[in-house]
C-alpha cells in the first residue's frame, strides 16, 4: 500500500509521462491519460505525452532540471485480465550492452515503447532517482480511435490514483 503522503513541495518536481501509440484503441491509454491530466496534478507536476522516440525523451530529460520523481504510464499486454493495473517501482537489473544497443536501434528507427524508454534513458543516466511504472492491461489494440469501456474505467482509476495520492504511487 502507498506510504503516508509527503507534501510535494518537499519532494521536488515530478514528471508524469504517458507513453503509447495514438489511434491504437487501448494501446493509446498513455497519451490519452497525459492529455486528460495535463495541468491538473498541481504546480509541481509536469504532465507530458512522451509518445515519441526514447532518444528524444532522453534529450528532454537531460535538458530540464532534474526531476525528483517520475511516473510513466502506458498500456502493456501481459496476458492479465483486461483493465488490470500494475504499479511498480522501476529499479531493474542493468541489461547487457548488446540489448541496450538493440533498443537504441529501435528507438532511432521509430519504435515507441515504454520499456525502451525506461531502459535507454536509464542507461544514459537521464532518469530521475525515483521512477514508478504504471501499466494497464489492454483489451483491444486494433487500429482506431477511442478505448474500450474496460480501459476507460481503468484509466479513470489511474487518473484518480495520480490525482488523489499526489504521486505517492511512486512509494509503493
Amino acid at each position: 500500500m502507498p506510504s503516508r503522503p509527503v507534501p510535494s513541495a518537499e519532494r521536488g518536481r515530478a514528471l508524469v509521462g504517458g507513453v503509447g501509440y495514438t489511434n491504437l484503441r487501448d494501446g493509446s491509454a498513455g497519451p490519452l491519460l497525459a492529455e486528460r491530466l495535463a495541468g491538473r496534478l498541481g504546480p509541481d507536476v509536469d504532465v507530458e505525452d512522451l509518445s515519441y522516440s526514447p532518444i528524444d525523451v532522453m534529450f528532454l530529460l537531460q535538458r530540464r532540471p532534474t526531476y525528483a520523481r517520475a511516473v510513466f504510464v502506458g498500456a502493456v499486454s501481459r496476458g492479465a485480465p483486461p483493465g488490470t493495473i500494475r504499479v511498480s517501482r522501476w529499479d531493474p537489473e542493468p541489461e547487457p550492452a548488446d540489448a541496450v544497443q538493440a533498443r537504441v536501434a529501435e528507438a532511432v528507427s521509430g519504435v515507441i515503447s515504454l520499456e525502451n524508454l525506461l531502459r535507454i534513458t536509464g542507461h544514459f543516466g537521464a532518469l530521475p532517482p525515483e521512477v514508478t511504472l504504471v501499466e494497464i492491461e489492454p483489451e483491444n489494440e486494433t487500429w482506431g480511435e477511442g478505448v474500450t469501456p474496460t480501459m476507460e474505467r481503468a484509466m479513470g482509476e489511474v487518473a484518480a490514483l495520480l490525482r488523489g495520492e499526489a504521486l505517492d504511487a511512486a512509494r509503493v
Binding site: 532518444i55 534529450f59 499486454s77 500494475r86 550492452a97 532511432v108 515504454l114 487500429w143 474505467r153 484518480a160
Partner: protein, 636 residues
Amino acid sequence: MCFKNLPVEFDEQGNASLRAGVLDPYKVARNGRPDKEERIKELLRKNGHIKEVSIDPVTRVAGALAFHSVVDLENRRVEDAHSMATLFRGYEIILKGRDPRDAIFISSRACGVCGGVHANASAEAIEMAFGVAPPPMGTIVRNLGQAAEFLYDHPLHLYLLAGPDYSEAVIGATNPEILARAQTYPARGKAHHGCATIGEIMTALNPLTGSLYLQALQETRRAREMTVLVWGKYPHPQTIVPGGISATVTSQTLNEYQTRLFYFLDYAKRIIAVWDDVFDFLYDVEPRFHEVGKRPTNLIDLGCWEHHDAYDATYAHAAEWGERRWGTPGVVLDGKLVTTDLHRINAGLEEFVDHSFYDEWADKPVPFATDPVGMPLSPYHMWNKETLPKPQGRSWREKYSWATSPRWDRQVVEGGAYARMWTTAIAIDKYPSNPFIKATGKSLDMLLPAASLPEMQCSWRIPNELNAIERNRARAYAQAYTALVALNNLLAAYDHQKKGETAVSRDYEIPKGERVGVGFWGAGRGYLSHHLTMDKGALTNYQILTPSTMNASPMDPFGQAGPYEEAVMNTPIIERFAKPDDFKGIDILRTIRSFDPCMPCTTHMYAGDVTVVREVNTCACALDEEDDAVPAGALG
C-alpha cells in the same frame, strides 16, 4: 531502346505504344525454379557442414525483417537465401475512401524515422491529382525540410545501425586478425576525425561508448531541430499541405536553419574522412570485402528535391521537371544509365505477389491501360494494383514474405541513397547550375564551404562495383551532398525573400471527377513512390512503394531473387569461427544492413479482422504481482 522485356516501343518522336502483334503483351512466363528447394534439402541431408541460419529478427533495422539462409560453413559460401518482411502494413486499405488530404498525415505514419518523405510524396501525388503546384518559396522550404530529414537519416545509418558492424567490438569478436592489423594501420584522415589509426576509429565506432557513436546520437537532435523549424513537428510533419507548406518562414527561421546547417557541413567533412579510412583499410587487408554484398549494378531512383523554377505538379511535364531536380531520377542497368525520364521509369514499374502473402489481382479488368500521356501500363502497375492480403503459412517454394516483388522492365533493381548519387552523377547534363555540386558522368564533385573547419573539395567517384562497402561509402558522401542541396535551397530562399516572393502555398479546390496522381520521391534510403486514384473527392486506390520493398523483395515470378537475397548469396564468409555454433553470420548481416533496411512501420497495421501490433514485453522484474497487480475496479 528503353525496355528490353516489356512490350513497349517508341516512335521517332518518342511516343510509346504496345509492340504490334503481341497477343498477351504483359503475360508472365513463370519460372519458379522448383528444383532448387529439393537440391538444398539434399545438400542439408548429406553434408553436416551445411547449416540453415535463420536470423529473426535482423536487429539494427527499422521494423520487422527476418532472414533465412543456408550456409556452407566448410566452403564458406551461402547456398540459399530468403528475405522475409514479417509484418503487414495496410496503409493502402486504411486510406481507401478517405479525403485525399488525409493521406499526407496518415501515410507519414508509415515510418517513425522518415515520416517526412511520405508526407512529401503524398503531397506531390495529391497536387498532381488536384492540379495545384506550390509557389517557388513553397518548394524551396519543402526541400529544406527534406534535406534536414536526410541529415538525420544518413548519420543514423552510418553510426547507429550499420556502423557497429565495423566497430572494435564486432570486428574483434568476428575477425580478430583484422582488428590486430587495424591497431597499427595509420588513418589518413586524422586531421578531420582526430584518430591516428584505424583501430582508434573502430573503438570510436563501438556502440553506446564510442565517441563517434555518441556524437551521432547527439546529432540526431540537431537535425530534428532543423526539420521542426519548417515542418512544425517531427517525425510526422504538420505543415506539408497540397499546394505548398503551411509554416510561416521568416528571416529568423532561415537564420536558425543556417546556423545548424553550417555545423552539418563540417560534420560531413569528418564523416567522409572516417568512412574512406575504414573502407580503404578493409579492402587493403582483406580483398574479399569486394565480394561482400555484391550484386549487379542495377539501380532505380525517382530523384528528389524539386527545382523551384521547374516543378508544376503535372504528369504531362514530369519528364521535364523530374530531370531538373536536385537529385536526378534514373534507372541504371549493368552500370549503364537507361533513362532519366519519369514517364518511362513509371511505365516500367510492376509489382508481383507470387511469393508474397497477397492474392493476385491482375486477372481483373485493367483500370488504366495507359498513363495520362498515353504510355502503356502493365496490369501489374501500381495504378492498376489492388492490395489483397492473404495471410498463410510460410513456404519457400510458394509464399514467404509480406513484401511484394517490385521490378523495373521485369529486372531486379535496388534503391538507395547510393542509387540517387549514381543516377545524379552519371546524368551529366541534367544537374541544375550551382556553385557546390557538379555531376561529371563519373563522379559527383562537391565543394564544402568553410565553417569551423576549412573549405574542402571532395569527390564521390562512381565505384567499379556495387557491394556492401560501396553502399555505405556512398551514404557517407550523401551527407555532404545533402548538406549542399540544403545550402543551394537556403540561398534560393534568401534570394526569394529579398525579392519579396515569400508566398509558400497556393489555394486549391478538390476535384470531383476521376483523377490520378503520383508522388515520385525518395527516402534517405532511396526510391519512394505514392500512386493514387480518386473519384468524387475520395481516394479509390492508394499504393505506397518504399525502397525496402524493392530491396527486401522475395523471388519474382521469373525466378529472380530479390536484392537482399542475391547480395547475400554472393557474399563470402570472411568471419572466423572455431565451430559451427560460434558462427555469428556477420558477413550476411553486413550485407543486409548495407541496404539500410527500413521495414514497414509495425505499429498501425490492418489486415481485415486481424490486426498485428508490435509485441510489448516491458520488463516486469520489479513487479510484486501480489501487492500491485490490481484488476480494474479494485482500487476504488
